[in-house]
Structure formats: C-alpha cells, structure tokens
Symmetry: C3
Subunit: 468 residues, 3 copies
C-alpha cells in the first residue's frame, strides 16, 4: 500500500490536473528555503540521533496531542511531562500505541498528511498507521533512527534544505549556533531574534528576564536607554549568527509611536507594575515601533505574528506550561493597529515587515489592501491552523486579487517537527500549483507566466523577502 | 418532469461524482437521527391529519414568508395572524397562489430544494410550482393529506425516523410527550429542555414565567436556591420524557462563573429590574455555567445556539410576535465568552457542550481551535441561514482541518416543517458525500476511510454525541 | 497572440463549461446598464479626445498605481501630481514604460484582466504588455486615440451603453450634464446625488462647503431647516438631470433617528466644532435617515457604501490628497447600525436602499439576512477590492442561499476608467454565468430558470432597482 496519492492536492480533473502536475514537476526538486521555524538548533549543532518514534511524532507536536486530548486522552498518557516533572507514561511504545489506535481522528487534517508523508518518504513505511500496525511501524522507525543516514545533518541534506532559520530569545546563549559556526559543517542554519520574553510585561518572568538581558548584553536593561541599547547590541549578535529577521508573537497587532519621553515613562511604569494590562499592551505596541526603527538601521526583516490568545485554559497552563494546544485565535484588527508603525516605516523602500494572522476574515478586508499599497508591508503565508491545504487555498483566493503574488513572501514551515519539513513544503508547493493551474484554466493567467510565478512562490520570493 | 436531479449537490464531473454517488448509496437508507428540532409534538401525539398546503408549506415556515415579505408581499396576505388575531387572507388557496406566483424568488435557496423535495418525494408532484400549476398542485397535496398514509405517524415511519427530539420550555406541561409515553405507538419522540423563558430576564414575561415555574415545580423559583432546585427537578422530568439534552438560545455566548453569593445577588437584582441589560446579560451568562454544572450531575448534553439578534424590527415584533423572519445574526465571540464555563467543565470527559454559530468567520478562527482541544466541546452542524448546501460545505472546509470530523456531531434538521425533515437530511448527506469525495479525489483521505467516515457523519456521531 | 481566453472565468470542464458558454452567449450582447460609477461627465459632454496611454491607464487609476507603489515605485514617477503641483515625470511615455516593465506584478489581479481586455478589445493590441513591447503598444494606443471612432461618444456607442450614471457633489454645477441635456446627442448620461461633502463634518472644507451649498441653493444651509431645504431643492435639480439615486460613502453604516429638536441641536454643535468625532459620526448617521425620508418623497434610490477607512497614510494624504490607494476597509457592522433607518423606511414598499460593503464577513452573517426580509433593502454587487472574479463568486456563494437573486441589483462597474467599462461588465457576466452553470450542474437550479435568471442579473434587476 502507498500512503500518498501522487496527484494529491491537485485539481481533480482534466487540463487543470495536468497543468498542476507540470508546474509541480518544475519546482519539486528546488531546494527548501525555511526562513521561519522552531526546530531545535541542538539537532544540527550536535548531529545526535533522534530518540524514539513517540519523541519524534507525538510528544513535541502540539497539533498532534491537542487533537488527541480533545478526544478525551490525557496529556500524561501521551508522555507530556507536567511542570512538576510528573509523567505517567514512561514507555514511548505505549504512547505510540495510543496514538496509533486513535489515528483515525486525524482524518481530513493536515497533521495526517504530514505524518503520512514523513512515514512514507522519510522512513519508508508502506502501511497505514493503526492499532494493528503500531508495533511494526514503531520498530521500523526505531531501526531507521539508529542509522547514520537518519542523523539530523544527513536528513538536512536529504531534505535539500538550502537554509533553515531557528528562533531564539535574546536571552539564549546561541551556543548551538556558535557550535555550527565553529564547525566545518557546510549547512546553513541561522537564528531569528524573538524578543517576546523581554518585551512582554505580562510574561511572569519579565523583570527577571530584564536582569538576565542586562547581564548578557552588559547594558542596564532596567533603564529605557540601556534597554534599547541592549536590544541593538543583541540584534547585532544574532546577525553575527546569520539572523536576517526578527519575530514578534503578540496578542494583537497594536503599535504605538510615543515620544521618547513618554516611552521612557511607560517603561518605568511597566517596571513598577508589569501586570497592568493596559500598560503592558501599550508597551508591546511601542516596542514594535522601536524594533521597526532598529530594523531601519540594521536591516533585519521584521515579522509580526498577531492574534493568538495564549493559554486559554489556565488549568493546563498551570499544570503543563505553555504551547499545549490551548492557544486560540481571536478577532484581529490591523488597520488601526498598524497605523503608528506604518507612519514611521511604512513608506521606506528598504524596510520589510511581514504580517501573519490567525483571523482569515482580515485577509481580504485588511491585509491585502494594506500590503497592496504600503511598500514596506508583505504578507506572510497562511499560519498555524491555516497551514493546511484549504487554508493555503483560501489565503491565495482572498489575497491575490488585491495584493497580487509579489507582495507575498513564499512559504514558512514554522515547524518544531524536523521530519515534517519536506511534507509541509510539499503541501505548499502543491497547493500553489493547483491555484496557478486554476488561474490558467479559467483564463486568468498565461501558462508561461504561471511557470515563472511558481518559481517565485517556491524559491525566489522567500529569499528576497528574508534577504537570504 | 422530475423536480430533482438524481446527482444533485455532488461534484459535477468524473471520479468525484462517481465516488460521491457510491458514498451516498451507502448511507441513503440509514435511519434519520433528528436530535434537535422544533416540530410540534402534538402531531405525533395526536396523529391528526395535517391541514392544507398553505398551512403545511407557507404559514409556519419563516424561511418562506420572510423571503416573500422581502419582495413586498404583506404577511397578512400570507395568512400570518397578527397578535391581535387579525388575518386578511382566510382562504389558504389564495395564500398558496400567492406563494406559487412568487416561487421564482426562491431560486438558488435551500427552501426551494427542500420544497421541491417534499413536493416530489412526499406528495408525488411532478410539475414545477408556478402560477399556472398552483391550483393543480394544491389539489394534489390536499388529496394526499386526507389519506391515512399521510398522517403524521405514517410519515414518521415512511421517513425512516429512528428518533426525533422536540424542544419545550420548562413551563410546558409535556402533555403531548406524556400521551406518547402512555400510548402503544412504537416511535421514539423525545423532549429537549429549553429554559430560555425562565433564564432570559429580557423576556417581557420573565417574572410571570418564574411564578409559573414555581407552581409547576413546587419550588420557590423567586429565590436563588429554589430557582436552581426548580431547574434540577424540571430537568429530571424532561429526562423522564426521553430528553437527553438542553438547548440555550442566547444573543451571545458569554458565560460567567460567579461565586454563589454573587450569583444570588445578581438573581435578586434581576428580579428587581429585569430590564437592566447589563445584569440580564450577566445572568444569562451565569446560568449557562449553572446549567453546565447540572449537566455534570444529570448527564444532559448541553447545546448553545449563540448569535441571533432577535426581533430586529420592533414594528413587526409588536404586530406579529417572534419568529417572523427578523432574527438577524451578529458578530459572535466565543474565545473570551466561553472561558468561564470551560474552566468549570471544559476538561470533563463525561461532559458534552455542542456549539452552534451564525457567524461563519468564527468557524476557523475560534470554534474549530476550541473544539480541537477541549474534550467537552463539540461543533454542531451549520445552523439556520447556513443550513444549506454552500453553508454546509463551508462548515466542513473551515472546521475539518483543525477540529477533524470526530469533534463534530452529525446533522440537525432544526426544522418546524415536518415534511422537510427527509429533504434536509438528504441535503446534508449529499453535501458530506461530496466533501468526502473531494478529499479522496484530491488525495487527502483514503477511499476506505471515506466510507467509514460517511457512516459516522450520517448516523453514529449524532447518536453518540446526543447519547441516543 | 491573443491576450484573452475565450472561455475565461467559466467552469474549467465538461457540462459546466458548455452551459456557462451558452448562458453567456445569451447575454453577451445585451446593453450595458451602468447605474453607479465615477467617470468624468466632461468626456461625454465635450466628446474631446482622450490624452495619452498613461493618462488613460495609469495616472487616474488607483487600482494600478497603488500596486506599483507597493512595489517601491514612487507616485511622482507615475505622473501623479502632488497637491502643490509638483510632478516628476512629465513624459507620459516614461510613465508607460515604468508601468509596462512592472506589468507582471498585476498577475492574478482584476486590473490585469481589465487592462488586457481594454488593450485587446478596445485598441486591438495582440501582444502582452512588457518592457519589450511598451513602446510599440504605446504607439498603437496613441494612434487610435487620434481617430474619431475613439472619441468618447463613439466608444459609448461601441460599448453598447444604454445608460451611464456619474456621481456629483451637491456643490457641482452640473454643467456637463446641462451641456448634454442641451445637445442633440442621443446617449443617456445621468447624475447621482452624492452629498458627502456637505454631510461629513470631518471633511476639512465642511463649513465652507455649507456656505457654497447656501449660495447654490438659495437656502440658509447653516440653519437646520435651511440645510434640509437645500438638500431637497438640490436633489430635485439632480433629478432634472436624470438622477435616480443618491450615494453615500460613509466610514460606517451607522444611522440614527433623532427627534427634529435633537437633530437641530446636533447640527448646531457640529457647526461649532466639526472636528468632534463623536458628533460627526452621529451627524452622518442622522443624515442617512434624513436622506431616506427625502427619498420617500422624491423617489431617489439610496445607495450606502460603508466601511472604507479613508486616507490611512496621512503622509500621502497631505502630499497627494485623497483617492491615492490608501483607503483601507475595516470591520463593518450593519445589524445594529441600520436599525434606526430601517425602523423609518425599512418596510416601505416604494423605498429602495442598496447596501455595499468592504467586509465580506458580513455578507452571510448580516447583509443577506437583512436583505432577505426587509422589503426596502437590496444588496449592491461586490464592491471595490471585491470587484473581481473571486470576489463576485464569493458574493453569490455567500448571499444567494439567504437573500436569493431577487434581492440583488445586478452589476455596478463603479469605475473612473472609461475603457474598463466593457471589461468589468464582461467579468461580471461571466462570473454570474459560471455561478449559474454550477447551480444547474449540481442540480440546484433548472436550466430554463438559469437562462431567465441570467437576463435578470445582467439587465433587468439593475433597471428595476435603479428605476432606469
């Protein structure tokens, strides 16, 4: 049995299918550009073997365990440790069996497509995962993981990754990146400056993080001027490890452009009471504009991921911590919110701000019209819950007519799951090919143009937008 | 002439059409599970003949008369009585002619599909309804209605209904359900506990309703403790008549989890001034959480229908009363609103809360992510204005990738029109078959899986979610 | 080479394509009804030759220059004059070359489809526009423009326009309309009453505009009663020049129904401080209801275009003025906002209010339910950013099932670009044919009905709704 349909995600009939195939053939072997993601830099730095199938597919993947949890399976039984270090299921084989027995609940989801892709293409599995096949497939993957061609750097080469970005806090030591830089490994792994930990007063560790920030930069990050200097210094350090971008995960897209005096006072107020929600929101807003100003100087591309209401269940947050599937989107305004930042950098030809949303109703109404006029704005690809075949299709259908293709930036896999990288790029390429084929067969795009556009969407736009 | 295309609602070409047909063949004869609706229990209790064609198709169906009203036809001329009992058109044949002469305005609407289905499949009509055919079709239906095989229980059998739920207020005597329980009829008709009349302070009869609630339960429903006891008692009475669920039609999805002391004070404030909009909203919010707590005890599944702004035209409301087509949806937030309730019952494996929305922008952004992680949450099918072919398709397209199929609960016909029940289930089954076929032909779902899923969507998920 | 695919925008396969073709053949030669647009009345009044290709395709078209600006091209280099009268590029040939060299950024946009249509169908161009072909095509268009068959009235006849509406402020002298009325030209060009300049206190010229309004009407427009009289008088003047409609471009759809005493006080408050945002919004809201009342008297159809946040970049607004591509939509509420106006005129059978939105999330949730019940309400076609193939398809998919076809009003080209008129109607007709074909092939509409509906959508609904 073959898990994957060769023509998956293409139009289902006639000339559309043929054209999508031809378009896909022209880009399927292009290198992967992965300018935004969350893989662990330790993997490529250390090149140590991955653990076991449960470690690889279940325990770290919030797409997977949230769905299982929604069906009444306890996180403990999936090998998720509590913050206190409790862990019910210690046998990864039991975790894998539980996962396999419930694999049908993933029908119709992107997780299913990614996992089937990894199983077949990375590990050569040719049987559908189920309670019956669980043990056999577990053995097959385990066996692979012990072989040199399944070490992280070997997979990096096999996946044809030209460049991969990881994401680090300013407080990160960047040791893994340093280790890669000092090694003779030829692969390109770069960092991304993600300063949420020192920009979000509502982070419970905020004040302590500022102290560490001071230590790591040698600046007084508890004064406004020192705080800004610390950012500037740290950004340069990240650049030294290849970073070409910053990333900002904020609950809203709100920006502010206060006077420096007002910003200083706000900073001091936030230091006195970081839990004041109004000041915290305004501080994050102001800092986006400060980051934009720094980008004008040091050239780092700015990414704004807005709209996730994190840790919706406080019970789960208290017991298991963040990123446990309880980050729920909410309505997101961009039009008013981005005004102050755009007044400062929106017309700068050398500035790039890439926007991501979890509120699809803003695609056509707000994001495409904004990106379709401000030179600094570009649209990031469909994000998170919408990193899926239908999600990507809707992204193109709702943004292309207003913003075109050339205000978008190609694909981000945005993944923590190393083995899903080729699967995710495969889905994105196929969906774009299907979309382009539908434009051609409905007379909206010339065939020659389509072959040029698909190269841009797959490769050139990401390299250009992220300055890679 | 045949009114219905045998392949209606299927993909229009090739393998997709064939597969949709095959899927549909596998479920077309499954019994109808109707766990949520508004048919009159008197029909099955009394098994008396239905009136005339206008009574059956026009006068009680707000989908039909609102559209005719929008085209300038007066409600009076459609046989709708005013609250004062005025009625211009007393001849149902005239109402029918008016309807028939304007039948073209329903082109492209689900009403048209339902009515054509009822005309052809229930009454054997083979001509399109129009001014020309109005009288002939009127006679044909009238003739049928006089025959025993068109009595309600005969139709119930012919429609292959396994179970049907009606919806009653706590103030309802449940006489019709008692009559069925005492009879030797083998059909299964159950009630649903819909306490809006005693939970919505803005209902003009609220205070009076509480008095009746006291009488009917023997509790003092004008004290907080007595009020809660009255609910608990009445819920058990509904369970005795087969109820497995409660239903809540609220303007928003707001929930609260006040202390019992604060809730008591709120209740007293509401008794003093039920028209205070802020208190009324908070009381409804608190009561959803109280209902959830009771569900934990008595096992009734909870349904929340949120987002309809009722009686948009106060002139029509004053003259004709509620449910006259002027209930208009509005934006609906679920993420913040449901937080308090989910803190209480969201992680309970034995709890089921089924959510319905009239704000499609919340499908992908809020509802699917919430149902895709909270064990207690399930998504109800596309509701009301979206109980239509395109509406159902969008529901699947916007929720499946995040919540999967197994956090949904099958179909509700939600109808007041008895003869439309098979038509509505027919549409739902066809749309699901088309969706599944499209997943298979685009390589996103195995064919064997699709045949299993379609059984679940048609039959098993509804039985399981509603505990039937 | 042919720029246009003969079957563009039709379903891509099988019977759907054939049927769409047949439907289109039945309406492709129907006259154009253009009841809402922004072409310059001077063109048809004076019948003077159009300038040069850049003047025709680039400089006046905000769809075109905003996209070029988003790609880093300065407005000055596109021949856009600053308010101060500065203009960098004086050679239209250079502007044209810049446009041609960037023509690829329009791939997938409606602008591309419109321009290709104009190039091929109006000017006989058979080569794709690019840096290489720029000069040749420039010559070809220039050559055409000098010939009598390319004068405005000749094009009007060739485009088969039955009637075209322009849009004027109450302060406009209507000279061009007077000139047409006095001429022996047989074409029908009518005005539309667009009173924003004297209804929006936040217009910086508001107070001065009221003075001009007084002069032009002979009423004291600085008193409430005189102001209303001035409107009534001026509306009649517009009617004398053929106007059948008013048009209102408001940031929101808010309406109010204050007592005349309260309205008078509001008017006086607004005169004292027109910059008070709250009062300004309430005044616009009140004036929509006043306009509705006047429509009851004089029969002008009312159009409400709500939801554009104008001049998002204050820098561009200060330097170049309005309509420079920086009008960005925002979320728009209709349900609560329209309540007061609908209480006054919503049930009037002789009233027509046509609604337009830039917030697609309101199509199914708010607009279709409202238009599907209020006799006075009709839905305008997909507007502005959504005046595109996918935008129109979504409009039909999201409104038809609830509002049907007969609560819609056909197509508006809404254009400033004379040569794009046939292109835009061509797109609208094709999209409607594709939609109808898809309804027929999926068994939701009879084929005979589809041929009747397509006549209505193309011709009759616009004539009826706009009383033409």
């Amino acid at each position: 049995m073959i898990l994957l349909d060769e023509d998956r995600l293409f139009p289902t009939e006639g000339r559309g299918r043929e054209l999508a195939r031809a378009l896909f053939d022209s880009v399927r072997d292009l290198p992967i550009i992965s300018p935004h993601g969350h893989t662990d830099p330790r993997w490529l730095a250390g090149n140590e073997r991955f653990g076991n199938p449960a470690d690889l597919f279940v325990t770290p993947d919030h797409y997977v365990f949230r769905m299982l949890y929604s069906q009444g399976i306890r996180l403990e039984d999936l090998g998720i440790e509590t913050l206190a270090g409790e862990k019910s299921a210690t046998d990864p084989r039991e975790v894998w069996r539980l996962f396999a027995a419930h694999y049908h609940v993933f029908r119709g989801t992107p997780s299913r497509l990614w996992i089937d892709h990894s199983l077949q293409e990375v590990f050569g599995v040719e049987k559908g995962l189920s309670a019956e096949t669980a043990d056999e497939i577990y053995e097959q993957i385990s066996d692979c993981l012990g072989r040199p061609e399944f070490l992280p750097r070997a997979l990096f080469d096999r996946f044809n990754i030209e460049v991969i970005a990881t994401t680090e806090s300013p407080l990160d030591t960047l040791d893994h990146h340093a280790r890669v830089a000092a090694s003779d490994w030829g692969g390109r792994m770069i960092s991304t400056y993600r300063p949420d930990a020192v920009m979000d007063p509502e982070n419970p560790d905020f004040l302590n993080n500022l102290k560490v920030f001071s230590e790591i930069t040698g600046e007084d990050a508890l004064s406004w001027d020192g705080y800004l200097k610390a950012h500037r210094k740290r950004r340069l350090r990240f650049k030294a490890y290849g970073a070409t971008a910053t990333d900002h995960g904020h609950p809203t897209a709100r920006t502010e452009n206060l006077s420096q005096q007002a910003a200083r006072e706000l900073f001091n107020a936030v230091l006195r009471d970081p839990t004041d929600a109004g000041n915290a929101e305004m501080f994050r807003a102001q800092m986006l504009t400060e980051m934009a100003r720094m980008s004008l100087d040091d050239g780092l591309v700015m990414q704004i991921h807005a709209g996730s209401r994190r840790n919706h269940s406080s019970a789960i947050h208290r017991r298991f911590g963040a990123d446990k599937g309880f980050d729920i989107p909410g309505r997101t305004d961009f039009v008013t919110a981005l005004g102050p930042l755009l007044d400062v950098v929106g017309h700068e030809p050398d500035m790039t701000v890439i926007l991501f949303t979890l509120d699809e109703s803003s695609y056509g109404r707000e994001l495409a019209p904004l990106a379709g006029v401000y030179p600094a704005l570009k649209l990031g690809p469909a994000w998170w819950f919408f990193d899926s075949a239908d999600g990507m299709r809707r992204f193109r259908e709702m943004t292309t007519e207003t913003a075109g293709f050339y205000n978008t930036v190609g694909f981000n896999d945005d993944t923590r799951a190393f083995c899903s990288i080729p699967a995710r790029h495969d889905v994105a390429r196929r969906v774009d090919c299907a979309f382009l084929a539908s434009l051609v067969t409905s007379g909206r795009l010339g065939e020659t143009d389509a072959f040029e556009v698909v190269q841009d969407l797959t490769y050139h736009l990401a390299k250009k937008a992220y300055r890679l």
